[in-house]
Structure formats: structure tokens, C-alpha cells
């Protein structure tokens, strides 16, 4: 109760629903920030927007050389190159959101301390920026697949809803890691390690069904890794002979709901305290 009618308490987080409504009302802030960030970050380089596609391309070339030519294994599929680049490109989307999300609040401390707006817009703008980056990457992926002889089909269009779902999942993860890194800066140190673990666990350069064929427990565990689920779904619609396992089809939406639900609530609960970070 206010000492004088008409006053409200400053420095308290708003009710959950009101918070979401307010964030929705100011969504253009997140979009504008994401656009400016993307352009501002790229314009300083000579090659500009080309870097969006060059970076994952280089990654794919390196892994293709090392795991394709140097270390060959029986778990390698026949259509090795399309299989690899699909995995690398889609995984890049997750990495970008994960890493960016961890810096969404800490990297914008000045903005947080000078303007009052729903803080959830900062991780959202990170995910929007990464989504903007993923569009040319997916176009490049389509072209490369055609070059390597994968037949185009209507099922390719299913990539859009799959990536939209992945974007929501990424947002959930970014929200969780965004709040965590405010209170525990160590999280940012640990993120490259998690990325690496997930990279190897997501069956990007080997076929998990072949590698763990005689170990059902490991196989199911590998099938449940969220990043693997999304990569498997994309492979399922874009490549020939790589249908996504049933576990992945079920697990991907479940991971998405789980991540976004926990993420939004977890992030909202600390809303009033983000300005306190050093």
C-alpha cells in the first residue's frame, strides 16, 4: 500500500503478464537494436556481410578436411559433405545465441543502467540478430547442397518452421544463461566448453546411429541432446536417406517448451536486479 494514493513502488518487478505485455509493446526496440548491432558489427570489416557466410564456411572446410580426409571412420555417411555442412551451419545458430545470450545483460550494462525497459528485450534482440544471420547461411546451405548433388524438394521449406522452433529454444537458453552470467560471471568462461561438448555430442561429423549402434543407452542419450534433435530434423527434411529418429521429432518440441518456459520465468524473476551488476 502506498503512503499516498496513486503512487506505486519503484524497483519491484512487474507482474508476469504485465511484463510480457510491456515487452511486446516495445518489441520494436529489440528489432531495431538487433538490426543496428548486426550492421554495425559487420560494417567495420572490409568484407562486410560476407563474413556471415564465410565464417561457417571456413569451419565446415576445416572439419571436412580433418574428419573427412585425415581421420576417416566407419561412422561416416556416404554423402559426407552435405551431412557435415548441414550440421555445422545449424549448430552455428545455437552457438551464436548461446554465447550472445550470456553477454546480453553484462555487455549492455550501460544501457540497462540508464534506461528503463523490460530487460527481456536484450536477450530477445540477441536471438533476433542471430536469426538474421542464419537466413543467408541457410540460403548458402541450399546452394551448397545443390552443388553437391542433393536433389531439391518441397520438404526443404520445412526448414523454416524447424528453425523457428529452434529460435524459440535458443531464446530460452539465452534467457537462462543471460541471467546466470549476471550473478556468476564464471558462466561466460564455461560457455566455450559447453559449446565444444555439444558440438561433439550433436553428431555433426559422424552418424550417431552407426557409432552407437550396439549401445542402446548411449544411442538414446545422444538422441536426446537438444542441438542434435534440431540438426537431425533439418537433415531429415533437406538430405536424402537421413530421416530424423522418432526420439528427435518428439524431443525437439519438448525441449523448446521446456527451455522457453523456464527461461522466461527465470529471467523475469530477477528483472528488478539487473541494474546492480558492476
Amino acid at each position: 500500500m502506498a503512503p499516498v494514493p496513486g503512487l506505486f513502488e519503484v524497483g519491484r518487478r512487474p507482474p508476469f503478464w504485465q511484463y510480457l505485455v510491456e515487452a511486446w509493446r516495445r518489441r520494436s526496440f529489440a528489432f531495431t537494436l538487433a538490426g543496428y548491432r548486426l550492421v554495425g558489427g559487420l560494417l567495420q570489416n572490409r568484407l562486410g556481410i560476407l563474413w556471415i557466410v564465410l565464417k561457417p564456411l571456413f569451419t565446415a572446410v576445416i572439419y571436412g578436411t580433418i574428419f573427412g580426409a585425415v581421420l576417416s571412420s566407419s561412422a561416416r555417411p556416404d554423402d559426407w559433405v552435405p551431412y557435415l555442412i548441414t550440421g555445422v551451419f545449424i549448430f552455428e545458430y545455437f552457438t551464436g545465441c548461446f554465447t550472445g545470450g550470456s553477454r546480453a545483460i553484462t555487455g549492455n550494462a550501460k544501457l540497462v543502467q540508464s534506461l528503463g525497459f523490460p530487460r527481456i528485450l536484450l536477450p530477445i534482440s540477441v536471438v533476433i540478430e542471430q536469426t538474421m544471420r542464419v537466413v543467408p547461411i541457410v540460403l548458402l546451405l541450399g546452394i551448397l547442397l545443390l552443388v553437391f548433388g542433393v536433389p531439391a524438394s518441397w520438404s526443404w521449406l520445412l526448414v523454416i518452421p524447424i528453425l523457428a522452433m529452434m529460435g524459440v529454444f535458443n531464446l530460452g537458453v539465452a534467457l537462462i544463461v543471460g541471467r546466470m552470467s549476471v550473478w556468476l560471471r564464471d558462466v561466460q568462461q564455461f560457455i566455450p566448453t559447453i559449446n565444444r561438448i555439444l558440438f561433439y555430442a550433436s553428431a555433426i561429423f559422424f552418424q550417431v546411429d552407426v557409432a552407437f549402434a550396439d549401445n542402446p543407452v548411449l544411442l538414446t542419450t545422444a538422441h536426446l541432446v537438444p542441438t542434435y534433435d534440431f540438426i537431425a530434423l533439418v537433415r531429415g527434411v533437406m538430405l536424402v536417406d537421413h530421416p530424423a529418429p522418432m526420439v528427435a521429432v518428439i524431443a525437439a518440441p519438448m525441449w523448446t517448451v521446456l527451455a522457453i518456459g523456464i527461461g522466461v520465468v527465470y529471467f523475469w524473476r530477477a528483472e528488478a536486479r539487473y541494474g546492480l551488476s558492476e
Partner: protein
Amino acid sequence: MASVSELEQPGATALSSASGPRPMIVVDDAHVTYRVYASGKRLSARDSIFNMRALRGGRGLKTVPALRGVSFTASEGETIGVIGHNGSGKSTLFRAMSGLIPPSEGTIWAADRPVLLGVNAALVPELSGENNIKLGLLAMGFTPEEATAHIDEIADFAELNEFIHHPMRTYSSGMGARLRFAIASAKAHSILLVDEALAVGDRRFKLKSEQRIRELRDSAGLVMIVSHSVSSLRDTCERVLWIHKGELRADGAAKAVIDDYSKWVKQPGRGAVGAASVGSGRRPGTSGAKPAASGVTPATSAAKPASTHISPAERAANAGVPAAAVSTAPTGLNVAALAPVGAPSDPLTFDQLLSGEAMHAVQTSSPERTKPRHPRKQPIATRPITLPRESPRDAARRERYLRAARDRNRRRIVALAITGAAILVAVAAGAAIALVGALTHTATLPAPAGVSPAETAQAAVRFVDVAFLRDVDELSLDLAMKADAVAAGSEAYFTGLADV
């Protein structure tokens, strides 16, 4: 909540019922405590590297009280200046009022979300001024169309000309401040908090922004300004708050408070930078909403008090009212009269202060520092000398300290437990991986190849022993026992396999 504030502030209800200007902000005993990761003491290079705390991953967590119980009421149509030396808590107060920092104790009420514009607050340095204008407007709740429409107007006001298209990181501090002021004042906020903005711009822009502040105030708003420029405050404000070491030292008519402040600034040996390292033995709470206790007329009433600075004379005048608090004052005065005015300040650390043992020392020493102004004017003989008793404020402060200490201990134990658990999990995971690896290996190869994982596990145990025995003695012992068991188990398993 209302009942509490009414209990604490008998004046508040009277204020609200009085027909007068509508209160826009009510700050009720606000405390803000920062958590800073720092050792809090000087470390030699050797210390900082070989410190056990650094190994454990902890930079020491230190709590710094930046605001300690500030209360006041500000009403519609007022322009209030805030003064105080660097680090006294002015900016913290503004941040707390604008909701960017939650008060750790007490509450702040506002009629509308207060908007803070400060010099230090950069928006997004990589972006151009124009983009920053748009972002700032959108963040303040403008629709994209409105924002686009306002961009030119704001750019014109900031007078940045062609620089508006340059990245903001290339701006001088004055240019940045101008832009931020222009953005924040674009909307007719009902409550505007200005942090040093006027001090940075050049003379021309200063006049312009003063004009804009007056306009904002006239459109039924409240404007509060932090500034070190005493003359500009004298021009723009009619009421001034003086924040000293995180507490409200004075609240009253601009001229009187500024005069007091200027006089105090010229004193030799005054406290340097620092918010609240030592408690001052002042009465509990100074506020505009508390006329009964201190003789301060609420600043919202028509007659502005000359100055509400609590001089010793005033203490004497209403000595009967806050009995517990005033009891410390006479003792302090005696000491002040005897002690040299320019004595080194802050002889006690915060921890010492709150440990209770030092309470007596503080109560005798702190008035010397905070009230060095008229020691000789007081006829000592008329002051009854009472034993320094704990004022409610000191008690509350000690209570807070003890609570913080308890919290700290609890966190330390939790951190220790988590670290131990993490190590345990890591060891277990390593053993599991080794096990699985050996399993698949022995499945394909006939020769027993399971020796090396077991050795790895043992090496891990040895490592754990060496690395953590000194720090987390019992924990690592326990851990080593468990890891040993794991290693032994896996060894037995592998020898079994080899036998097969």
C-alpha cells in the same frame, strides 16, 4: 507496508492528508548495498597470485553500503537539487529512484516511472548518434513512427550537426551528454532525474538545457538535479538535498543548504571520497516528511525552512523527542570540543564499527567528523554527559551486519558443497567414460586394455589429494575415499575382465 511507514513516519500521514501539491516521490528509509568483488585490502603481487581465495575461485565478496536510510518526499512542481561530495551516494540515490537498482531495504514510491539521465550512461557506443536516438526513444516506449518523427527534432536540439551520423564512441563527453539530455527530455516525463548533465555542456547548451528543465517542470513535473555546480543549482532549484556518506544530511531551501555546504567544503580535514565507510552518530532518519522529530518543516509546505541542517543547537532544543538518539550527541560534542578539528577521519573500518566492540569508540569519534562546525559555540557545562547508549540506528546497522555475515557464511558453505559435488561428479564422469571406453575397447580387442583408465583414475585421485587437501581438508579426504573406492572398483573389474 503502509502501517510500517506510518509507524516510522508520523508526519507522512499528516502530509498526505494535507491539501497541497501532490507528492510525486516518497523515499522511505532507502538503503542500497552494492556487492563488489574485491579483496577490500591492498594485496601484494604475491598475495594476489598465491591467495587461496583466488584458487578457490572467489574474489572476496564485499558489500558496500552506498545509501543508508534516506527518506524524503518530493512533490509536484518542485525542482530539487542534490549536492554532496564524490561518492557520497547521490547517483546511487537517483538510480534507486529510477528503479534501475532495487533498494536493499526501505521502499521508494513514485507517481510515475522516474527517468534518469546521466553523464556516465552511454547508450550503445558503436552506433551512430542518430541510431542511438532512435533506440533510446523506442526503449522509452515510443512507437517506431513517433521515434522516426522525433529524430530530427532531437538531433537539432543536441546541435551535433553532421556528427549525428558518427558512432557515439567518437563523441566528446560534452557531446554525449548533450545527446543523452536531448533524448531523455524529448518526452514530457512527469519525473526527470538529471545526473550532472548540466555540468558538461558548454555555456550555450547549459542555458538551453536550463530552459528545457524549466519547461519540463512547468508541465506539471518534478525535476531533480545532481550537480557539483553550486551556482547552477542556486539558479534552477528552490530546494536542495545534501547527501553525505549515504545519508541525508540536510534538506531545505536551496540558499541555506548550499551556504552550509560551501562552508563545509572549505573545512580542512573533511572526509574525502567514500560513501559510508564509517557510520556517523546522527539521529535516526532525516526527512522532509518528519517534522515532529526534527523541527524540519516539510518542504512541500508553503513556508520553506531556512535550513534543516541539524546543528547541535537544534538537538538541544528538541532533546526530549528522540531520546535514544540524542544521547549520543552530547558525548560526541564533548569529544569534539576537545579533539582537534582536523583530526584524521575514518579511523575505523566498517567491520570494526559493526562488530559491536567498537561501538563506543565510534560514538565518541564520529560526531567529531560529521559535526566539526560549531564545537566551541556549545556551552559544555549545560550538556548532561550520558553514557553512550546504542541508538536504534546503530542497533539496526549491527543487525544488518550480522545478517550479512550469516548470509556470507551460508553462501561460503554452499559454494564449498557445490564445488565438492562438482569435483565428485567430474571424477565419476571420468571414471564412467574410462569404463565405457575400456568396455568398447575390450569388446573389439581381445587383449586386456583396461589398465590405463584405472591408472588415470588413480592419478586423478592423487591430483585431487594434492590440489585440495590444504584448502578443503575434510572434503577432499571424503572425496579421495570415494574416488579411491571408484578406482578400486574399476580396477577389480578390469582385472576380472583380464582374467576372463
